[in-house]
Symmetry: C2
Amino acid sequence: MDKTLPERQRLILKEIVDRYIRFREPVSSRMILDDYGLSVSSATVRNDMNDLEEAGYIEKPYASSGRVPTKKGYRFFVDWLIDLSELTKKERLEVVEAYQVRCLEVGETMRQTAFLLGNITEYVGFIIPPRPAETRLDRVVLVKMGPRTVLLVIVSDIGIVEHGLVTLDDDISQADVDRITEIINTELHGVSLDAVRDLTLQDGSDGWYERPVRQALLVLGRLLERRSGKRLYFEGILNLVSDLQKSVPDRAMDRFAGLIRAVQDEEGFVEEIYRERGERSGLVISIGEVQREGMEDFSVITSDYRPHGGVMGVIGPIWMNYGRAMSALSYIANRLETILVSSCPRDLIEGAEI
Amino acid sequence: MDKTLPERQRLILKEIVDRYIRFREPVSSRMILDDYGLSVSSATVRNDMNDLEEAGYIEKPYASSGRVPTKKGYRFFVDWLIDLSELTKKERLEVVEAYQVRCLEVGETMRQTAFLLGNITEYVGFIIPPRPAETRLDRVVLVKMGPRTVLLVIVSDIGIVEHGLVTLDDDISQADVDRITEIINTELHGVSLDAVRDLTLQDGSDGWYERPVRQALLVLGRLLERRSGKRLYFEGILNLVSDLQKSVPDRAMDRFAGLIRAVQDEEGFVEEIYRERGERSGLVISIGEVQREGMEDFSVITSDYRPHGGVMGVIGPIWMNYGRAMSALSYIANRLETILVSSCPRDLIEGAEI
DNA sequence: ATTTAGCAAACAGTATAAGAGAGTGCTAAC
DNA sequence: GTTAGCACTCTCTTATACTGTTTGCTAAAT
């Protein structure tokens, strides 16, 4: 990586990116002097800016305008020049309190997290739930509701993941329900949700168990199957509206609609996020690099979170406040990990660590 | 009500509204002739249009442009001139299938309904859940999860409304849990959720029961309290983007942002919807009449649904396709009622009807 | 009493031109 | 390596003219 750049040019580049992020208009040589109090003339700054332009870090919208950072410029900025800006006490409190209300339901925790990400960064927050392949079944809970109906609750090592109704062919006693629960939990405790799904949906185990057990297993499988569909939670898409409107008034709607379309196909989006992250862990910053039509002008910052390899992130305009977003993302990822791990039953904790 | 208007003027007004809804541009006297084949001259049509304008049904964006319907014009249109357009077989199927997947969770049913409304009308669908004051507790289910933790599921006459974790001070046996369940269900079966909330949160019952029962009741109350907060489900806000962009390219973002803001304050929005409906039942059409800043240029069609007095609706631009939206709304409201009533336990059905 | 033909007037929308202002690139001097 | 000065470029705004659509009005026709 080339962090080599003359000191003054680094300063000027930093100033250009900082100012552009703040005011969203091309930065002239004068502005840099006014603001920064460099003890050189504007001509000198212009010379440096020329060098920076030749090196591909900045560009001009038109021949005699101020400079605007290029993607390469943003990249250099986030890699070498950025100041991280800690969350305020108030914001940290918001996060902590949001997680205070203990959510049993994993889905609720996901929604909450996406909401926090969106709300604090004022961009779009999203989260991909823990992979079912690495989430383990803690137990199922069966409760007799009616003569032939039983409530089924699926509890994983990170909380309740689904519930549904099992309709049986015949009437059944509470004792039988308890026995079935016992059987299922003995067999499936600690098995990954994906494996549970496959086991319960395949017809192989047909002869093994009595009918009510088979029926319960079938519903269990179906619920997990349906669950796999829900792979993504978004919050705060509307935060972009005012930002875009202020920054690119005439193209705002286009950009916005483009992003919506890019994100509509959740399956594809999730895949692209994983592809883009590759084998990296921790924060990954993609500056217009997410390969989806309509996202060329958006930046995405993602972070993985343990246990079970989920990914959360923030989508913002390419001129987003990277420092803030990065801090927020780290902090929230960290909090979420704490929450998830702390709700993990003791005997499944080793299994949870990869 | 004045449905009195010379026959030809009615025809012309209908044609103007129809065309404006379809093409979203001022309608000239020529267009009406071309399209409709009236056997009069354009001058005659112009005279009629003049009358219509004087009567306040249409107006000109500028001195020599074609005519555009006024709110009064839309009102006359929906009251006297509209053709309802039935949903297609495919659309009806979509609705039926969406409800096929039996949702236990009331919240899920609400989300589903809002989604259907938004998706089929291609505007914004929303739904206000059944009033807790008129929803009755069927029973609670308590399941021992750990030594001192108990899972609490709240089942109302229309399905599961919430679940949460009760943390007890002392260890407890399964038998005790069953006894507590019995006590709570005996006391509270058939009581409205609002009443349950108030009963369980007031400190009066302090001495009555042993500690574990009191603790369970407290959590029950808290969950119902939290639930009251979630009074609104929205889906399809993004459907408006393309419509607005096509219709009012430059003001699109403003309008959009305005609506978002108007709807952000859910409490206030819900109140205004109830205020606007007043004592009316069935479909209510508000043409820019919902008194919220930013909604002057949007129309809202609402419908109540039984049991328990919820309201669902569609928000669209003032030039929305009223015929389609009205049909969709009636149909979906009807389906939802069927679903809700059919899942209602026998002994609570009378209570459900107001 | 309606309806119609014909025509002047209104105005959006587009295109073109001119002027102001901001910022750069370059050259020559420091 | 840095700076002052100046010509040049390009956006943004304002003014002007032109085109095409549609209306309102008047006078004649039915």
